[in-house]
């Protein structure tokens, strides 16, 4: 009876303020004046690397345990990670943003780790011999190997000519095995040549191979390097006991230098000089009392890598700075008398030219039995094609490696530029790119602009081959340190690899630097900021106050829900690695 008096309302009339409709009807996206965008940018390490390797992407893949994937990223630009991971001068580490936070990432050791532990079979990836054009590469140093590798990846037929009996150029005949073991070099080269590259060993340009023979190729890349050492003095008597560093390193045991009683002087302050000294030490079973290195540069100015100098000093090699060779005397067959004067080196910042200036009158006399000179190299330029422009001992090219002759390209030491392995590899890559544009009749300027990183010479060949799917990529934007949100990172010391003890290592040619064990590598990998690259950390999603960053679980892609995104910009600040940008809304 009472129930009929219940509230007296219709069933649908709400008599209580109860809501069950969703507030999703309020599309707060209308409030926006800016909108976020995911834009992958270039990390400073990648920008500094002459080869333009996508280092953060490799670190990201490695952090997920995908070592093979990370190695593959390296191989997209650099065919010689095992080499660079041991000998590169690591400009990447010098520009590393982490270096402004605590200490730079040990990127070189990372590259080596990938090469040592990763497995990649390239043959399935690349389109070998998919094109009909035939290309020739002359000289199989790092520039030539790189050019051949990339040309093969681009689909062209490649024939690689090498004057010596083995491939490698300075990698084999210049860099000693305790820095770059031969087995590593061989397997790196094998990976390159397995891409169907034809090889002509013991083939010297001008002798076994004429320029006319080369005319049948659609394009030629010259990377003959600088094989001749320089000796700065006029001498009297035989020159057998005066060697160039390059000649010594090409075959150290040829010169009867094992006798440790021979007072041996090495002139030069670069890596070659240091390599000579340390090689000599090892030939002499670790007895270094009769080995000295003299150079005009101060310790800081020495062009050799600081870590090489340090290792040499640890091994007990005497380095005397600030002395330039002045005069050389020799009696018949006896020891040399070499006068050194106090000197200073002035490096012109702009042109890069180096000037040795004598300081004062002081003369130091050294009595030595053998002299090895490592003060620079020159090119063997006879046998180059007629009409090719050469200036100051280098082949003249434009920034793309094009010479004055059509269909002739050049790179590496032969064209000048920085005398480092990485730069040579970059030169080879550039050559392959230029040849491809030439053969496909593409506008090389426009192509380069599209794939250029920042404002540098570095560009992405991988993107030239295949543009990445994920996120827009702006190669012009290099992530600066102040764009990294350091509040999301904790300081930690850099991990460095172990080295053999100096007393032990100076007697053998065993590799001095050990590789990282996986645990230590993992710690170092976690230190990398991965500047400008999205690593799916989802910090942006955690911080979005409006739940407007959504993940497509199947495709693994993140996007913004612009129905609700208010453009507050919190995500752009929270992203520790600067992947999110805010841009003005346009009508």
């Amino acid at each position: 009876m009472v129930t009929q008096y219940r509230a007296g309302l219709h069933k649908n009339e709400p008599f209580l303020a109860i809501s069950s409709d969703s507030s999703l009807v309020f599309k707060t996206g209308g409030q926006r004046s800016e909108r976020p965008l995911f834009v992958t940018k270039v990390a400073p390490c990648r920008h500094a690397c002459p080869i333009g390797i996508d280092i953060p992407m490799a670190f990201y893949l490695a952090s997920k345990g995908d070592i093979d994937g990370a190695l593959r990223v390296y191989l997209q630009e650099n065919p010689l990670p095992g080499v660079c991971g041991r000998v590169c001068y690591h400009p990447c580490e010098m520009e590393c943003n982490r270096g402004n936070f605590d200490e730079p990432i040990n990127t070189r050791s990372f590259e080596r780790f990938l090469s040592d532990h990763g497995q990649v079979d390239l043959k399935g990836d690349v389109s070998i011999h998919s094109k009909k054009e035939k290309t020739a590469v002359i000289g199989s140093g790092p520039a030539g190997l790189s050019a051949g590798y990339h040309l093969a990846r681009l689909g062209y037929h490649v024939t690689l000519f090498e004057a010596k009996s083995e491939l490698g150029g300075m990698l084999r005949y210049g860099i000693p095995p305790y820095r770059l073991p031969r087995s590593i070099l061989d397997s790196e080269i094998e990976r390159i040549t397995s891409l169907g590259i034809q090889i002509g060993l013991e083939t010297t340009l001008g002798k076994d191979l004429s320029w006319k023979d080369l005319e049948s190729f659609d394009a030629v890349f010259i990377s003959i390097g600088l094989q001749l050492g320089k000796i700065p003095f006029e001498t009297d008597g035989s020159e057998d006991d005066i060697l160039t560093g390059v000649d010594f390193l090409a075959d150290p045991r040829k010169w009867s230098l094992e006798d440790d009683t021979q007072r041996t002087l090495i002139i030069g302050g670069g890596n070659v000089a240091i390599d000579v000294a340390r090689t000599l030490m090892r030939l002499r079973q670790g007895k270094g009392n009769n080995i000295s290195v003299l150079c005009p540069e101060s310790r800081d100015q020495m062009p050799a890598l600081p870590e090489e100098i340090k290792e040499a000093s640890e091994e007990g090699i005497t380095i005397l700075n600030g002395w330039a060779p002045h005069k050389l005397h020799r009696g018949n067959g006896g020891p040399f008398f070499l006068d050194f004067c106090r000197a200073e080196v002035k490096i012109d910042e702009e042109s890069g030219t180096v000037e040795i200036i004598r300081v004062g009158d002081e003369i130091q006399k050294h009595m030595v039995d053998r002299i090895i000179v490592a003060i620079g190299q020159t090119m063997k330029s006879d046998n180059l094609p007629a009409g090719i422009e050469i200036k100051r001992g280098r082949i003249v090219t434009d920034r793309f490696g094009r010479t004055s002759l059509p269909k002739v390209f050049a790179g590496g030491d032969a064209v000048g530029g920085k005398p480092f392995v990485a730069d040579a590899i970059a030169g080879g890559k550039m050559g392959a790119f230029a040849i491809s544009c030439f053969l496909e009749d593409r506008d090389i300027e426009a192509e380069f602009q599209t794939h250029q990183m920042g404002n540098s010479q570095t560009f992405s060949l991988q993107y030239f081959i295949e543009r990445p799917e994920r996120n827009p990529v702006d190669l012009r934007k290099v992530v600066a340190f102040d764009q990294i949100n350091t509040l999301f990172f904790t300081e930690s010391p850099r991990n460095d690899p172990d080295k053999l003890e100096p007393e032990t290592r100076k007697r053998t040619f065993e590799e001095v630097i050990c590789g990282f064990d996986p645990a230590r590598m993992e710690r170092e990998i976690s230190r990398c900021f991965k500047c400008g690259t999205c690593i799916d950390c989802e910090i942006c999603m955690d911080f979005c106050p409006d739940i407007s960053i959504i993940k497509d679980a199947e495709l693994g892609i993140y996007s913004f829900d612009f129905d609700y995104c208010k453009g507050c910009g919190v995500c752009s600040v929270a992203c520790p690695r600067n992947v999110i940008e805010m841009v003005w809304e346009t009508k």
Binding site: T3, Y5, G8, F15, A17, I18, S19, S20
Partner: protein, 389 residues
């Protein structure tokens, strides 16, 4: 079963029989024995209630509201200061239409401090949207509590059952306490369909627009108006089952009464004695005692007073600057319905001071003698001069 109980304990029994599920309470003289009795039962394990011994009346009401919204039957009790502390939430409870039943023991409002009976505390809350029932004795206290649950759960409005401090709360009387089964049959379990429920998630009590608010208020007013009928029906059902019926008003000796006393609470019991005495003397006097104050039973009152020539109202309360509340509400109901009948408003028993049969006889006497009722309330009947206002 017949028991000799104080009004507080009678009310406690009423609550216990109604099987509440959550009781949140805070002690205050003169309500404390209700809280204590319930605690004793809780300690014995006979109550089946979640007791919340909260830290203030405000929290007691807050917890009662949210518990009720979660779909359980709730009961609480308080008095004067505690009721006033709950004031904000009384509006809230009514606005959220929760069927809480609360016993309020009328006690004088401070300042100054006094613990004895006065109706001003509950009447101050008459605009909060609660039903208000005024008991006159311990039996009514128990019966009203049980009926209140049924009324509230039908109309979805909270109900206050009002007892007077000490006159009801602490005086002992024989009370008929029904058995549990009969009460279970009369009052089924509380099972609302709209509640806080993870199976049907919804947001309760958000911000509304002006028009929506007005709509909610209109609905509530309709429910209040509907409650008049519901209260009568529930009263009838209760009488059928338990043998005691009340209705919205108690009419005493009304048949040929010329001067009718309108009052509420224990003064009504005293008035019966005075009226019997006056009737012996041949005076045609009678009484209407208001039980349901909110919603105000206008029609029933008008009906019962139709034949009266004069009306006297005794209020054990005073709205400062106006008059006694029952008088004021009565006058506004009578306006334009019964013209010309003088209504004499008396305010007696403030602060719990005694209102004896003699006082009431004097009230009738004054009403008889004066032709025109004064605008202001008559505040004293002891002093002869006092009523020459």
């Amino acid at each position: 079963m017949r028991m000799f109980l104080t009004g507080n304990h009678a009310a406690a029994y009423g609550a216990r029989l109604a099987r509440p599920q959550v009781i949140a309470a805070y002690p205050i003289t003169p309500q404390s024995p209700i809280y204590e009795k319930i605690s004793e039962w809780d300690g014995q394990g006979v109550l089946g209630v979640r007791m919340m011994r909260v830290e203030s009346e405000h929290s007691a009401m807050a917890a009662s509201i949210s518990a009720s919204l979660t779909g359980v039957r709730t009961f609480t009790a308080t008095a004067s200061q505690g009721l006033a502390l709950m004031h904000e939430l009384l509006h809230y409870a009514s606005g959220m239409r929760v069927p809480i039943v609360m016993v309020n023991v009328n006690r004088s409002m401070a300042a100054p401090w006094s613990f004895w009976s006065e109706q001003t505390d509950s009447l101050s809350q008459r605009d909060t949207g609660w039903l208000q029932l005024y008991a006159a004795d311990n039996q009514e206290a128990l019966d009203m509590v049980i009926q209140a649950f049924k009324i509230s759960e039908t109309v979805f409005l909270p109900t206050m059952v009002v007892l007077e401090a000490f006159y009801i709360s602490h005086f002992m009387e024989p009370v008929e306490v029904p058995d549990q089964k009969s009460v279970d049959d009369f009052l089924p379990p509380f099972e609302p369909s709209l509640k806080l429920d993870t199976d049907n998630p919804a947001a309760f009590c958000q911000t509304v627009t002006q028009k929506q608010y007005a709509e909610f208020r209109i609905h509530r007013q309709r429910a209040m108006e509907n409650a008049l009928e519901v209260a009568e029906v529930v009263g009838r059902e209760y009488k059928e089952r338990f043998g005691r019926g009340y209705g919205l008003l108690e009419c005493y000796c009304l048949e040929d009464a010329e001067t009718v006393l309108v009052t509420a609470g224990t003064i009504g019991c005293t008035a019966r004695v005075a009226i019997d005495a006056l009737r012996e003397e041949g005076k045609k006097v009678g009484m209407v005692r208001v039980r349901l104050f909110r919603p105000f039973p206008k029609e029933r009152l008008i009906e019962s007073l139709r034949h009266a020539r004069k009306i006297a109202v005794i209020d054990r309360n005073l709205s400062p600057g106006q008059e006694g509340v029952f008088c004021e509400e009565l006058k506004s109901s009578l306006y334009s319905k019964i013209n010309g009948i003088p209504v004499f408003g008396f305010v007696l028993g403030l602060g719990g001071s005694n209102v004896s049969p003699l006082h009431i006889k004097k009230v009738f006497g004054i009403a008889e003698q004066m032709n025109d009722a004064p605008l202001k309330p008559i505040l004293d009947v002891e002093d002869e001069d006092a009523f020459g206002i």
